[in-house]
């Protein structure tokens, strides 16, 4: 069974990966012939494609929409600026979700007259909203996809930790 895929770059800049179905390989058909047939049939006409091994892809699909590839034969890699944008959107969505979940907690604190709690929740929420302007700089300091994927600002962590 082939471990090869076919990669090409779409006109919108995105990377498409054609994964051959092993069951489609004809009896007595060599791997090269099989890949060439798939390349000719399933790759859009007019684009440059390359056969690469599965090992050439990033370690995971965390930033799948930030993959990039050039025709020089290099491995598929993550475009860091794009990945930062993706991760930023994810973090802000995660923050927004966390903020959405604060209201019941505020209500409970209010009911309990726990002003300290109320203040801590609001401080955390306010701090997290500052991420709208500070997050870009934080992400810019991260230079690998792995570091980027692992990064969660403490403001969000604190927000999610509120019980």
């Amino acid at each position: 069974m082939t471990t090869k895929c076919i990669v090409y770059v779409r006109p919108d800049g995105g990377v498409s990966v054609v994964v051959p179905a092993p069951q489609a390989q004809l009896p007595d058909e060599t791997e090269d012939d099989f890949l060439a047939r798939i390349q000719g049939k399933d790759v859009p006409a007019g684009v440059i494609s390359q056969v690469v091994d599965r090992a050439s892809f990033p370690a995971d699909r965390t930033f799948r929409n930030a993959w990039e590839h050039d025709a020089a034969g290099s491995a598929v890699r993550v475009n860091l600026p794009k990945a930062r944008t993706i991760h930023k959107d994810r973090l802000l969505a995660r923050r927004d979700a966390a903020i959405s979940g604060l209201q019941p907690k505020l209500d409970r604190a209010d009911d309990a007259g726990d002003n300290a709690k109320i203040k801590s929740i609001k401080d955390a929420r306010k701090a997290s909203r500052n991420l709208d302007t500070t997050l870009d700089a934080l992400l810019a300091a991260l230079t690998t996809p792995e570091a980027l994927a692992a990064f969660v600002p403490p403001e969000i962590t604190a927000l999610e930790a509120i019980s």
Partner: protein, 819 residues
């Protein structure tokens, strides 16, 4: 210490009375002189310096050269100022306007400003010269140049001193106006420096001499002697206008060269006062030691339609080799149109003259073919043709060949050959070569070869000259031909093998008698028994003497009744003899019969041993006999599929198929796509059933056709393609199982293109799919993204809770439709 020695500050001043009085007198005298000048209107204080206004358009440094353009204040404007002070506007020098009319700035002068300049006297300035040129005696302004004066043989500034090397040299020059101011001018041309001495002498009469012009009649001669460097002009005023003209001769140094250009200018004026000019310039061609190319050239210039002189001819004389021991000179002749055209080159090569035409180098006298010679001389261009290899020339030669009565010419165009051959029977005696008397042409030496002269003896010549046989007989002494002779003995010899001779020889008269000799019994006269031909001898016959197949049966010895000719008994070869049959078979008169059996057994009888063991003739019987039947039964052999059984009592022979032995190859032939079975409702004999084809499957109504796996896919109820893909553990999806799918294209998070291996007949087909859920936080929905194509379908996976595109852990897709 004298009166005029200067003192240092603090030094004691000790004057004598007389010295002090002298100082006072000197001071009084100076004051009075100054007052006198200042008090006299119009008196110039300074005649060697002037105030000059820079009108060159550029800022000028000190010691720049400017042309004097006129006073700043004209007399018509303010005569007092004009008289009291020398002022000029200084401009960029131009020639000839500013020759002798220039000044040297004594201070830097911005454009438009006024300052002091020297117009007469000795002043430092810069000279422009060739790097190694000698210091010239004079200098003059150069057009457009403010930085330097140009060194020359004649000029208005005398060079008193200058640096000896460099292209821009400091110099001290004396500004004195045109040199001719002191030496006089003649015909408007400068004659050179102040040391030039010119002697003008009228040959046959007194010249008319005015202040600036020396004039002569046309018949007068003119001698100029001791003319130094410079220019001389002879201007003859003719009695007739047709004889007007002028000759100017001069020298000029060429920039960058040591030597000088010598030139002549002829000016001719006709009755219509048109003027023609002609120049001849001779110029040295090098500035260094003589080397190849050292020499001079002359250029003749003629006035053309634009009124200007243009080069018309040029002659160059130079060394091809300047070394005195091997010196060789070369002379080149040019004519000109818009450029120089080399016509002729003459050169010495050390022993011979050489010549070259039309731009070619000089070559010595040419040998060989004329084409090469013409090319080498420059009279032809291109590659020379040698000899008569030119096709047209060869053909021309071939065409002029004319056969004679004796010679046949043949021209072979391909081989470029002319052959001449003597025509047959055309060479008469007159063409034979001259020979001595009594010589014949022929061959006396043994063997074939060239013809030779055969010298006849006088006797032989006499025989040849004899007119008839009688004359020949007379010559050789054979008489007249009617003489007689005598035979004294006649002998006869015959082969002794056959004959014996008696009576030989006969010396007078007699008869020869010969007889046959005796021979051995049964011997004959034969040639050799084998091998090559040889004389015959008497010998016994051998087998080889009898040719094959010539002895017929009739020629064989007659035999007796009931006899055979052959061989009987014994071992080895025997003579053939008659045989007497004594056993079972005898030969009857016409038939072969058994011994002592002369009966005729009749039809269908065979000879053998009867049922009782008796030999004799018995009637032949068929296969109804029990033994024959048994024999047939005994030889029955079953095969793998047929079981044969023989029943002796009947008798009967049966054959039956053996169960499970009949394979498809033994079934009867049928049409393609048919199986054996039964399609009729009731039980009965087997029938042929057709295999379902694509149309049957797509119609999906047949109940009488048989479905095989290869057509199941065409049934509308069957999924045409499907796949199951897993993303867990991989960065790109894996096609774990599929049918009718060649690949999936991962376009990003939750977006895939399913690439069918089949082509649907239209886009009207169904795509269904499922994606996984984790049962707690989300579920996934697989959707078709837009209309599919006949070969692909784009699907997306959405997280049901957020309606955002996501990657599931696994998903499956199936398609139903027609293809």
């Amino acid at each position: 210490m004298g009166l005029f020695d200067k003192k240092f500050p603090g030094q004691k001043l000790n004057l004598r009375a007389q010295d002090w009085n002298d100082v006072l007198d000197a001071a009084r005298n100076g004051r009075e002189t100054t007052r006198d000048v200042a008090e006299v209107p119009g008196l110039l204080r300074q005649s060697t310096l002037c105030k000059l206004r820079n009108q060159t358009g550029t800022d000028l440094p000190r010691y720049s050269i400017v042309g004097l353009d006129g006073p700043i204040v004209a007399p018509s404007e303010e005569v007092d100022v004009f008289q009291q002070q020398l002022t000029f506007d200084g401009v960029v020098p131009a020639t000839p306007t500013h020759i002798g009319r220039f000044a040297v700035l004594l201070e830097s002068l911005p454009d438009g400003e006024m300052g002091q300049a020297v117009i007469s006297g000795v002043v430092p300035c810069h000279l422009a010269l060739g790097g190694a040129d000698p210091v010239p005696p004079y200098a003059e302004v150069a057009a457009g140049i403010t930085a330097t004066l140009a060194g020359s043989a004649g000029g208005s500034a005398q060079v008193l001193w200058a640096e000896v090397v460099g292209t821009t040299r400091w110099a001290l020059v004396r500004l004195q106006g045109p040199a001719c101011d002191s030496e006089g001018s003649w015909g408007g041309c400068w004659l050179g420096g102040s040391t030039t001495t010119i002697t003008v002498r009228e040959v046959d009469g007194a010249p008319t001499v005015t202040a600036n012009t020396a004039e002569f009649e046309s018949t007068d001669g003119l001698t100029v002697t001791d003319l130094g460097s410079g220019v001389a002009k002879v201007n003859l005023l003719a009695a007739s206008p047709t004889q007007k003209g002028a000759v100017t001769t001069g020298f000029q140094q060429i920039a960058g060269q040591k030597e000088w250009l010598a030139g002549h200018l002829w000016t001719i004026t006709d009755t219509a006062t048109n003027t023609w000019t002609q120049f001849r310039n001779s110029t040295h061609m090098t500035s260094g030691s003589p080397a190849a190319g050292f020499g001079f050239y002359e250029i003749d210039q003629l006035q053309a339609s634009d009124g200007n002189a243009h080069e018309a001819a040029k002659r160059v004389v130079e060394w091809a080799d300047p070394a005195v021991g091997t010196r060789k000179s070369r002379e080149r002749f040019y004519v000109a149109d818009t450029g120089e055209r080399l016509c002729l080159v003459l050169q010495a090569d050390g022993a011979n003259p050489m010549i070259g035409f039309l731009g070619a180098g000089a070559v010595p006298r040419q040998t060989g073919d004329i084409g090469t010679a013409l090319v080498n001389l420059g009279l032809m261009s291109g590659t020379p043709t040698s000899g008569y290899t030119d096709e047209s020339a060869q053909d021309a030669v071939g065409n002029i060949l004319t056969d004679t009565a004796t010679i046949d010419f043949t021209y072979n165009d391909a081989a470029n050959q002319i052959t001449a051959d003597v025509k047959t029977n055309s060479i008469s005696v007159g063409f034979m070569h001259a020979s001595a008397t009594d010589v014949l042409f022929g061959r006396s030496s043994a063997g074939a070869g060239a013809g030779q002269e055969i010298v006849c003896t006088a006797f032989a010549r006499t025989i040849l000259d004899d007119v008839d046989a009688a004359a020949v007989r007379a010559t050789i002494g054979a008489g007249t031909g009617s003489g007689s002779g005598t035979v004294t003995s006649v002998a006869l010899t015959l082969p002794g093998l056959l004959f014996s001779v008696a009576g030989s020889p006969i010396t007078t008269s007699g008869t020869f008698a010969f007889s046959l000799v005796t021979q051995t019994a049964n011997f004959g006269l034969f040639g050799p028994t084998s091998g090559a031909a040889a004389n015959p001898t008497f010998r016994a016959m051998v087998t080889a003497d009898i040719p094959s197949n010539i002895v017929t049966y009739a020629k064989i010895q007659k035999g007796g009744p009931t006899r055979l000719l052959g061989y009987q008994g014994g071992i080895g070869t025997q003579d053939v003899s008659e045989l007497v049959p004594t056993n079972s078979i005898v030969l009857a008169t016409t038939n072969l019969q058994l011994l002592n059996d002369s009966s005729s057994p009749g039809n269908n009888m065979v000879y053998g041993t009867g049922p009782t063991g008796t030999k004799g003739w018995f009637a032949a019987v068929g296969y109804t006999d029990e033994q024959a039947q048994d024999a047939i039964g005994a030889m029955l052999v079953d095969s793998a599929r047929i079981d044969l059984t023989y029943t002796d009592a009947t008798p009967a022979l049966t054959a039956d198929l053996i169960a499970d032995t009949i394979t498809a190859g033994y079934l009867h032939a049928s049409a393609t796509g048919v199986v054996f079975g039964r399609k009729t409702a009731a039980a009965g004999a087997g029938e042929e059933l057709a295999l379902a084809v694509q149309a049957d499957m797509e119609t999906a109504t047949s109940t009488t056709t048989v479905v095989v796996p290869g057509v199941v896919q065409y049934h509308p109820g069957v999924a045409k393609a499907w796949l199951y893909s897993v993303l867990t553990g991989g960065t790109v999806p894996a096609v774990t199982a599929s049918q009718g799918v060649t690949s999936i294209t991962d376009n990003g998070v939750g977006q895939w293109t399913i690439n069918w291996s089949i082509t649907f007949s239209s886009i009207n087909y169904a795509v269904v799919g499922m994606a996984d859920t984790d049962h707690t936080s989300y579920s996934s929905t697989l959707v078709l993204d837009g209309a599919p194509t006949t070969t692909t379908a784009l699907v997306r996976c959405y997280r049901s809770s957020t309606e955002t595109v996501k990657d599931p852990a696994r998903f499956s897709v199936a398609a139903f439709g027609d293809f």
